[in-house]
């Protein structure tokens, strides 16, 4: 499985209030949430919602997704068409939520440092190799633990639970 797209680049500590402000949490409809994704990233040079295309990639620095446990955050990102989020580190609840709902995420310090806004990037999930086509560079991400790879394979925590309960 591969992801390929243009990069939206962010800095440290992008919190879930920035990803999806609480004023929109009176909805849990993924399409509605996607309309306001990254709305409070007010220091970003590029408007996310106006420019995001299917397959695009978010790259951020440390502690991406910190703050609230709202699953609306990875849901909004996924429903925006983002194919992968790469960061130096992820806040733990966001990390869990992304894995549970099947939003691919990768931790890679080098990629987070070198990739810039607008770069064209390709990700090979089977090897963890991230290719920056704009800069002609490759970076190696940490591979996922086997437990999480298996969850991705079956399609997330709900599907895995069905298997465990003999409902699938």
């Amino acid at each position: 499985m591969n992801a390929c797209g243009k990069v939206f680049k962010y800095g440290d500590n992008i919190d879930t209030d920035v990803i999806i402000p609480a004023r929109y949490l009176n909805s849990s409809d993924p399409k509605e949430l996607a309309k306001h994704c990254m709305e409070d990233a007010i220091h970003s040079s590029v408007n996310f919602v106006e420019n995001v295309k299917n397959g695009d990639i978010i790259v951020a620095e440390k502690n991406f997704g910190c703050g609230s446990s709202r699953e609306h955050a990875p849901i909004a990102i996924k429903a925006s068409g983002i194919s992968c989020v790469i960061a130096k580190t992820f806040a733990r609840i966001f990390y869990r939520n992304a894995i549970n709902i099947g939003l691919p995420i990768l931790e890679c310090e080098e990629a987070a440092e070198k990739i810039e806004m607008g770069d064209e990037v390709e990700v090979d999930f089977s090897t963890g190799v991230i290719t920056n086509k704009t800069k002609n560079e490759t970076y190696q991400a940490e591979p996922f633990p086997e437990f999480m790879q298996e969850m991705f394979k079956v399609g997330g925590l709900i599907e895995q639970t069905k298997v465990k309960l003999g409902l699938k």
Binding site: D15, I42, G67, S69, E71, A91, I101
Partner: protein, 420 residues
């Protein structure tokens, strides 16, 4: 090698003799919690699984507290969906408006969290119950759904940071000042994926309310959980509030910690976190003088009776500054009633404050005190991210109830010691 307190609780709930940091386990849950924002998503996911019942109708708690009493039609629809689910699944601990409070003030008060429990909640501040010597942590809605269906959750066993709290804090130095100081010291990802274990002789000077505040904000340092050892105060609290049997775990003497921090509580000052991260802390001496438009006293961090008393002690017989809005939100109906019975409500209203029904409300920019562009709020809540309390160009400063009350009087960030 020995285990930390957190590791021991997790091992016992995974049916294992021992666990070590990094190990992936499945643990049995004593409580699965959700609110009006996260439960609707969890219900959708729960229905996909294909089970008809929750794993144990006594071990699920649903507290509609974020946008309640319903702030608009969409929120009302969410609350309706949650209410219908709770009725259909015969969930014992569903708290309707009128019984509900801010979930993390309510759950301990209702006796639903006791020492030794493993608790997950679809709310990041679920780490609050670590104050009682439980392992409790925030998760998302899908984890809540699976928790409701199977009564288990997957965990990566965390390593730990040890915070040795020493000596007695000064009069106006509260649990909030201690945790803000710690977050300022280690940063908003300083405890990422880790347990924060609080120990030391200083703990005996901390009320249960102070401990709840400290454990509550472990997530603001990125922590998986914050946890306190169980002492007489803990057991007294549990006896007063719960019928459940506490199980006391202690860290092994040879438990390993990634770092050990010693903090002399006697030297701490009141502490304020400046926008837009809880780690941007300054002492009151550096912070005072910043002009503010609004003060909020409440939330799952500081909505308990001790917090209300601390604010009332300062506001008694005083008036808040002209054009100041001071919004006071007791955490539960019980705390609200205690405020009335103890005369605190009268002090608040006579000072010119709003005294509201319990709600998370303004803390997350929901309702009941939203900021306009350029406005500044000093708040006893837990986050000061961009746009957290309203307009993306508004600002939130975090502090203790005493600092918030003192500052409401003067209109600028003020040391409570300076209020005569």
């Amino acid at each position: 090698m020995g285990m930390t307190m957190t590791q021991k609780i997790l091992a016992a709930h995974a049916g294992l003799e021992s666990v070590k940091a990094g190990q992936l386990i499945e643990a049995n849950l004593d409580l699965v919690l959700g609110n009006d924002v996260t439960t609707p998503v969890a219900i959708t996911e729960f229905n996909k699984i294909g089970v008809n019942k929750v794993f144990d109708k006594n071990k699920v708690a649903i507290v509609p507290d974020h946008f309640t009493p319903n702030k608009d039609i969409k929120s009302a629809e969410h609350c309706k969906c949650v209410r219908e689910f709770a009725n259909e699944k015969e969930i014992e601990n569903y708290f309707e408006v009128g019984q509900m409070g801010i979930e993390h003030c309510l759950i301990p008060e209702a006796g639903l969290a006791v020492p030794g429990d493993v608790i997950i909640g679809a709310d990041s501040h679920t780490c609050t119950y670590g104050a009682l010597g439980a392992f409790s942590t925030g998760v998302g809605s899908t984890d809540m759904a699976v928790g409701m269906a199977r009564g288990v959750a997957w965990f990566k066993v965390p390593s730990a940071l040890k915070f040795v709290l020493k000596n007695k804090p000064a009069k106006f130095v509260s649990g909030k000042d201690i945790i803000l100081h710690i977050i300022g010291m280690i940063g908003v990802d300083g405890a990422l994926y880790k347990s924060m274990e609080f120990v030391g002789d200083g703990i005996k000077y901390l009320s249960m309310d102070d401990r709840f505040t400290i454990a509550n904000m472990a997530i603001e340092a990125g922590g998986k959980n914050g946890i306190f050892p169980v002492d007489e105060k803990t057991l007294e609290y549990v006896k007063e509030h719960s019928k459940k049997t506490p199980v006391v775990f202690e860290a092994d003497d040879d438990a390993e910690y990634d770092e050990v921090y010693e903090i002399d509580l006697a030297t701490l000052r009141s502490t304020v976190a400046f926008p837009h991260l809880p780690e941007n802390t300054k002492t009151i001496d550096e912070a005072k003088g910043v002009k503010i438009d609004q003060v909020v006293i409440g939330s799952c961090t500081n909505g308990r009776i001790g917090d209300m008393r601390a604010a009332a002690e300062i506001l008694k017989g005083k008036k808040i500054a002209p054009n100041m809005r001071a919004i006071i939100l007791p955490g539960t109906q019980k705390i609200w009633l205690e405020c009335v019975e103890e005369g605190l409500a009268k002090i608040f209203v006579e000072a010119g404050c709003v005294f509201s029904t319990p709600t998370c409300g303004p803390c997350l920019g929901g309702h009941m005190g939203i900021l306009a562009k350029g406005e500044r709020s000093l708040s006893t809540t837990n986050r000061n991210f961009i746009g957290r309390m309203g307009h993306p160009e508004s600002e939130v400063y975090l502090c203790s109830p005493a600092v918030a009350a003192a500052s409401a009087i003067t209109g600028e960030i003020t040391d409570p010691e300076d209020i005569k």
